[in-house]
Amino acid sequence: NLSRWGIFVAIMIARGKNASDLFPAVVKNVACKNIEVKKLVYVYLVRYAEEQQDLALLSISTFQRGLKDPNQLIRASALRVLSSIRVTIIVPIMMLAIKEAASDMSPYVRKTAAHAIPKLHSLDPEQKDQLIEVIEKLLADKTTLVAGSVVMAFEEVCPDRIDLIHKNYRKLCNLLIDVEEWGQVVIINMLTRYARTQFLNPNINVSITHMCESEPATLAKRKPYVMDPDHRLLLRNTKPLLQSRNAAVVMAVAQLYFHLAPKAEVGIIAKALVRLMRSHSEVQYVVLQNVATMSIKRRGMFEPYLKSFYIRSTDPTQIKVLKLEVLTNLANETNISTILREFQTYIKSMDKDFVAASIQAIGRCATNIGEVRDTCLNGLVQLLSNRDELVVAESVVVIKKLLQMQPEQHSDIIKHMAKLIDNIQVPMARASILWLIGEYCEHVPKIAPDVLRKMAKSFTNEEDIVKLQIINLAAKLYLTNSKQSKLLTQYVLNLAKYDQNYDIRDRARFIRQLIVPTDKSGALSKYAKKLFLALKPAPVLESPFKDRDHFQLGSLSHLLNAKAAGYQELPNWPESAPDPSVRNVEVKDSVCAERTVLTGPEGAGVLLLQTTRGSSNMQDLPKKRPKTLTKKNPLLLYLKNQKSASESESESESSESEEESEEESEEESESDTNVRKKRVRLDWNRIPCIINFDQFDMNKITSVFSQTLAPSGSIKMYELLHRIKGEGLAVEYCFSRQPFSPEPNMVAVQIQFTNNTNSETKNLHIEDPRLQSGMRIREFAEIGLQPSESVTVVMGIDFCDSTQAANFQLCTHTRKFFVSIQPPVGELMTPAFLTENDFKKEQGKLMGMNEILEKLTLGEKCVNEHVIVERVTATANLSRVPCGSDKECRFAGKTVSSGCLVLVTVTTKEGGGAQLTVNCEKMLIGTMLVKDILQALSQ
């Protein structure tokens, strides 16, 4: 049984057993049909190929065949396994395969090619130059699938070739939000380095003010700092990723902001980082390390979140210690009392390592903040009577450091500590006390010799550091109080002379020469007192995280505080900015725009422009815009724009500055599931009428967008109220096929009233609509009609994507008429703009029950494509989708109310036959549409 056998081999590998003897038997199954066995054979092959090179070669041809397979997934997996086989002989084959795959049609295969690059590079570094060419090619790829993988390859093969990034910088920034999470991390880290080489330090003014206060002239000479728009683009496009669920992405964005953003903006990352503190303890560990570094440089950023760093009894020790570090860094005059209170609780903890760290933290707070030094010192002295020896020892060490700052006032503390020497056994603490007594022996002249006496007694049993301090103490006493301590000192030095540790023997010899006057004693002994009793500078208690930010935050090297292999230094900001034009991308001018109106993903009426060159269209547009559009209902323009965001933004800004046209355009790149679109919102402000639809000039709008908006030249009018029945009032309506701007999911109905009587008709309005559930109606404002006047108004009806009639009463000041509007199915939709590929993709999703196929014979007049297009668009409000074949016409639309896609395909055949395909999620709409189009085409 092949499959069981495969499982057996897999288990062997997983357990780390050597299964290489089975190699020939396994490899012959490489072409096996069973997929699971096949996969396991691959696993086996990759694992042992290095050891059994000759045999591995037998399998290569299978993969080479796979590389030519029509299925992209098979091509990809063949490349994946082939490139994983670590046999140098096949390097040329791999190289060829990678090159070929890099220009494959399928983005998935190209992604696999990107993955294969580092594999080949590690197998044979000599291929580097060729691989860089492939990387360059793949970097230009426009799909999100490839972006992450190729940047990863770039980082491994040629991280220093920053020039390859220039042309792709803006594209990468724009794609970023849609790249998969892991790719985002790699790209953000790479872009951080890139930005450090290409842009100016945004905080340059701040640092200059600090440094050159004395020379205001230099400051004035400097040009004011203006952020490069590309720099801004990067900051803006990474910001939403702070909300990622992936901690690595959040950290990557945080470090980017820390290293690149102006001081005022760095603050936003604090919240996201604090959020990560609620994640797994390993994540907390890494985040806290980075927060600790950041909190030294930018304390204010984390101050509002002080309490989030409070320690929980359930935290692992390493987390507690890091939190303490952060709390200490955040301490300042205002919050120190709360922090100290918190520290007091920590000292009672059962976790001794943590208590020790807390005591040290108190010490650091005391040195940094002068006001609380005495309070801290008192608190620490109280701890000296603690029962736990570790606590006492740690306190002693910290007190020693604190006392050094102001020893005069604290001789009582020194006395107290001298008493402790009998009980404390921790060597570090003993050494500290001895040093203290020696250093300040003049403050405690009575006790010091006594301590030395005790120590001389126990000298042989002490630890090395204690012994050294005893010698020091003896020497200092000898110099200040030789009468009492001369003999003791001699004794101690004699003991030390025969100590096992050569350090101690050395020290004893050195000190004896220095302090005991003999005939041979050199010039130095004169200065012995100066040497030993010099004023020592107080120690500075520093955070171990100080200056760690020269490593890129979030990196392994930062965490270890040592350069890891393959770490790329974070470059310093350049003095002057390199040429920003290197990032410009040339675009072809020739492609013209195609425009259509559709219902966007949000269900809003939007105008979609697809253009490969955004600038000209965007600037032209405001000039074309109709003057009589409603005010509060901006049309949304979707620009599917392949130009970079920064450019389009700067352009929209420039048009903004021409404020006489007072449109407000704001630009944001929107993450859409299918396509990335730039969205430009144009707000036409100055037009006064809001709901006064009778002034709504349809013809003007239609003329602006006539090529696309109303594809069928004539609009069919329906009768709502006949002249005779309406006693002189005639009402007709038509579906104007305009987006109804107050409510995007309503169908706009244009109603024309004609007053055929001799008297004025007043208060014409709608009353008492009786609608199916879900349907809604937006009435027009009340109007009046002069004799033989004709007025057109627009009302909106949400038909809920059904062809049910909307019934209502039309009231004048004298009469009421019951009328109803029933929409043909084709009017329930609005054109959707799709590319050929999108169309196919969407069609693929709407198969099965959502697809209706119908054969038909074309009518006599349907002789060419043009007529078919005309007929279909007259029947239904759809837009034409570009299509390569002239036998096929494709149309796409969305239902107005719910935005379901409606896809129509008409395939003509020889001899007047044709096939109609309608794909729509709403089967009812599909069926009715088929009927209508059939009728239109077979006439």
Partner: protein, 414 residues
Amino acid sequence: MIHSLFLINNAGDLFLEKHWKSVISRSVCDYFFEAREKAVEPDNVPPVIRTPHHYLINIYREKIFFVSVIQTEVPPLFVIEFLHRVAETFQDYFGECSESTIKDNVVIVYELLEEMLDNGFPLATESNILKELIRPPTILRSMVNTITGSSNVGETLPTGQLSTIPWRRAGVKYTNNEAYFDVVEEIDAILDKSGTTVFAEIQGVIDACVKLSGMPDLTLSFMNPRLLDDVSFHPCVRYKRWESERVISFVPPDGNFQLMSYHISAQNLVAIPVYVKQNISFFETGSSGRLDITVGPKQTMGKTVEGLVVTVHMPKVVLSANLNATQGTYNYDPVTKILVWDIGKLNPQKLPNLKGSLSLQSGAPKPEENPSLNIDLKIQQLAISGRLGSFISVGCDSLPAGPCDKALLLLTLF
């Protein structure tokens, strides 16, 4: 990037290894064992260990150490996040992530690891894609597989990998279209001895179980989104839409997933639902002590408190506890020094009380610190953040077309 992965259990047995590049000898784990020994508690093992030639990044989950070997610079969080994703995938596939389930399903585990990383770089980590590639085991299927010799590996090609929305499988069909949303909120609070709140915050997550056909596009809106202080989203959520309109718009993955997590920090909002009166004292002589704990309801808004558990970390000198509980059961573990009192449902009429004596190691000095108490509880049908939850509305931008005419959206809150 990630070079190799070793799975090590609590006892220090290495039971699975996987290499994505050339093979690294398992002796590299000796450095890990050394650190493990030094750390005493498994929680305290440093996540990043440096060895002469490699770096070991490890996580500890479900009593298993996932130890990965790194050779070059890589963001540590990248690896940690990935390892957690691996553990979550195992949990998703086998119901739990334990040594025995991994050993039982070693082939699937191996296949999963093979698909998740390529040359050390994450390839497919979305559960929807993985399930297309490798089917999760079920009892029925494993029986069929043994008899017929067929496999767990999907016969179909994984088209999900090609899609721009990799988190969703294509061609999903359900007879009943349902979507459930669970809002789970947790209070995280530190109280001092007298019961005053030192620090409190509310964390919430919205877990979703979406079983809708086709490509549904959903929106979720809150009546009061300003309450949400800090949010993080599943990648399917459109960030821009949230930033501009405060509406969560997304094409959901198929099945269970965590849609978002949020944070509410306004301190005055947080009402702690219970109070605890505790008195734990140790006598100077006689090596014994007293313990008296009472739990009562505080602000529960008329809801019952369930699953109440009080955990006390006793000082090391406490040998045993002789207690009497008016409700629930207690258990003192003399090895870990943890006293667990499982109360269950809180009855406001008769407050549960735990009382009795503690015996200490004779001769040992009286412990000076008061032990800290951890209290876990559950309240159904109540959002602590109050105003947020009751106004959640779910909209469906494009209703999926299934065999049934109307898509049914069920909303279970809390």
